[in-house]
């Protein structure tokens, strides 16, 4: 295959990626967009097996590719790991998986750059060396950072911001060290400096994500996703592949925009997300709150309250996802509608662990689209709402976001359920939400708590309601 044809096919793959992102931006074309993206990636991968690239000295090479057995074997192994993981994962664990996939992508880019670096000849231009070093650094940061976000989301480690004394100086120091060693590697071209650089970059990735609070983790995943895109673009420059430059840059640019949009949906600046933990004042007086009385009710109490309501707003959160209660909640809503009660779902843009998490979950239960109300739509209606049922959500309805300057979620727009006549919380325990902040609303006299697994509680409420 001639270089011209090869590049032309690469361009076709690049066009597929543009169409894929465009498609993914609209609900109607999203699924097709994803398939077009997969098609582009397949074309780009398959064509490489039929193109004998000239080697570094410009001599022709022959097909099949060297190490073909290794290449095909490794692809088979990757497929055997990736596909079952993607197929079997539960909707609740989707965000972690995306974080993990992003991490391994960053790791792959870093490894490619390291191998490329090892085989750099004397003829390598400074620009190529810089691009290679850039890929190693950012790829490693993306890899270790994504692993930490995975651990946080999987709750294998604390979801609260991890801050230690002098933390910001350690981070700044690591960053300076990374930059310094980068300069050394570019100048000296040695394997040892490169390994030191990779280690420092991995450390920086960890330090960079540790102070980020649980609720902000999705924003960081999106940012690291954009980072990985840029490393792919840099690899494309080093490997002389226009297709990789286009694909990587597209992901880098769209990922940056997406990160900003997600941060805006949560009402915070990107800077605040990344460095908020250093500036926020430590939480005080939350210990005193724990002993205060709360009003807990039985499923029958909840059913009676609902039965005589005229308007009910259901506010789902991560607890709904954990309990897989989306079908039960729909059953409850259908029952209430049959009784002539006005029912709406109040969807906070970042309820759950990722933006849009609740929409996906409720869509799975075939909840009609018209019943889903976005935050701006539903907030003015709470004053006319008799009962707001908060199912496994906490931070997204926490009034502290509006009233307590300095708390980690201050400034995030919330669902103002406190304005409705009654609030029912379905909770597993008194444990605070993902962001780790006490919720004053739980102690409000108009709040009733129903403890237990969301699905079990809802099932009991449904049967109690049927008996009325």
């Amino acid at each position: 295959m001639s270089t011209f044809v090869y590049d032309l096919i690469g361009l076709a793959a690049g066009v597929c990626f543009v169409l894929a992102l465009k498609g993914l931006s609209s609900p109607k074309s999203a699924r097709r967009g994803n398939l077009i993206g997969a098609l582009g990636a397949t074309i780009a991968t398959v064509v490489i097996f039929f193109y004998a690239a000239p080697d570094k000295e410009g001599n022709a090479t022959s097909l099949p590719l060297n190490n073909l057995g290794w290449i095909l074997g490794a692809i088979a192994v990757g497929t055997l790991i990736g596909v079952p993981a993607a197929r079997k994962v539960q909707m609740t664990q989707m965000p972690q998986l995306v974080a993990l996939f992003n991490g391994v992508g960053g790791g792959a880019a870093a490894l490619v750059a390291i191998v490329e670096y090892l085989s750099l000849g004397d003829g390598a231009t400074t620009a190529v060396v810089i691009a290679t070093v850039f890929t190693v650094v950012v790829g490693c940061v993306s890899f270790s950072g994504s692993i930490i976000t995975f651990l946080k989301l999987q709750e294998l480690m604390t979801t609260r911001p991890v801050v230690f004394p002098g933390g910001r100086f350690v981070i700044a120091g690591t960053l300076v060290a990374v930059l310094g060693v980068s300069g050394w590697v570019v100048a000296a071209l040695g394997t040892t400096p490169l390994l030191i650089l990779a280690a420092l970059s991995l450390l920086f990735g960890i330090l960079f994500v540790l102070p980020v609070g649980g609720a902000d983790v999705p924003i960081v995943i999106s940012l690291l996703n954009a980072f990985t895109g840029l490393t792919v673009a840099a690899s494309g420059y080093v490997l002389d592949s226009t297709m990789l430059i286009i694909a990587g840059t597209l992901v880098g640019a769209s990922g940056t925009i997406l990160t900003r949009m997600m941060a805006e949906a949560m009402g915070r600046s990107l800077f605040g997300t990344l460095f908020g933990a250093f500036t926020a004042k430590p939480q005080e007086a939350s210990g005193a709150a724990e002993d205060r009385p709360v009003r807990s009710g039985s499923p029958d109490d909840v059913a009676i309250l609902l039965n005589y309501a005229r308007r009910v707003v259901i506010v789902p959160g991560f607890g709904l996802a954990v309990a897989q209660a989306q079908h039960t909640v729909r059953e409850l809503a259908d029952l209430l509608i049959a009784k002539g009660i006005d029912v709406a779902y109040g969807i906070h843009p970042v309820a759950g662990r990722m933006p849009g998490h609740m929409n996906v979950l409720l869509a799975e239960a075939n909840v009609p689209y018209e019943q889903l109300a976005e935050m701006d739509e539903v907030n003015p209606t709470f004053a006319q709402t008799d009962v707001a049922i908060v199912i496994g959500a906490n931070d997204v309805v926490n009034p502290a976001a509006e009233t307590t300057p300095g708390c980690p979620i201050y400034g995030m727009p919330i669902l103002q359920v406190a304005n409705s006549a009654n609030v029912i919380f379905l909770k597993r325990s008194m444990r605070p939400g993902f962001a780790g902040i006490e919720n004053e609303l739980l102690y409000d006299p108009k709040t009733m708590l129903l403890f237990g697994d969301a699905k079990a509680s809802l099932t009991k409420v449904v049967s109690a309601l049927k008996g009325l």
């Binding site: 609900p27 490489i48 060297n66 790991i81 490619v112 995943i221 843009p349 689209y369």
Partner: protein
């Protein structure tokens, strides 16, 4: 390739990337991130290229590992995005039937 050609491609791709996702409802943020994530899995192509150039065992080991990771990223990423979007689709077909 000429540096100016590369810079042109880069700058234009940045603008295209900005433009195509400039208006997305928050509902689609997660699938979009996941889809973009799968796209950067094409680093697989880079991994295959360096594997075919590998001469030492160290290079071969690292580049084969890169292929495994990139494949997981790319194929897993597209499959998981499709699963997310499948649920949106189910909702729409039902809506059509209702009308």
């Amino acid at each position: 390739m000429e540096p100016i050609a590369i810079i042109s491609i880069f700058v234009l791709a940045v603008f295209v990337g900005f433009e195509v996702v400039s208006k997305v409802s928050s509902t689609l943020h997660t699938p979009l991130m996941s889809g973009a994530n799968a796209i950067h899995g094409v680093i697989l192509v880079g991994a295959i290229i360096v594997t075919s150039h590998s001469e030492t065992n160290l290079e071969l080991g690292l580049s084969v590992a890169a292929i495994v990771l990139a494949t997981i990223n790319m194929i897993g990423g597209f499959v998981v995005t499709d699963r997310m979007l499948e649920m949106f689709k189910g909702k729409k077909t039902e809506k059509k039937e209702a009308k």
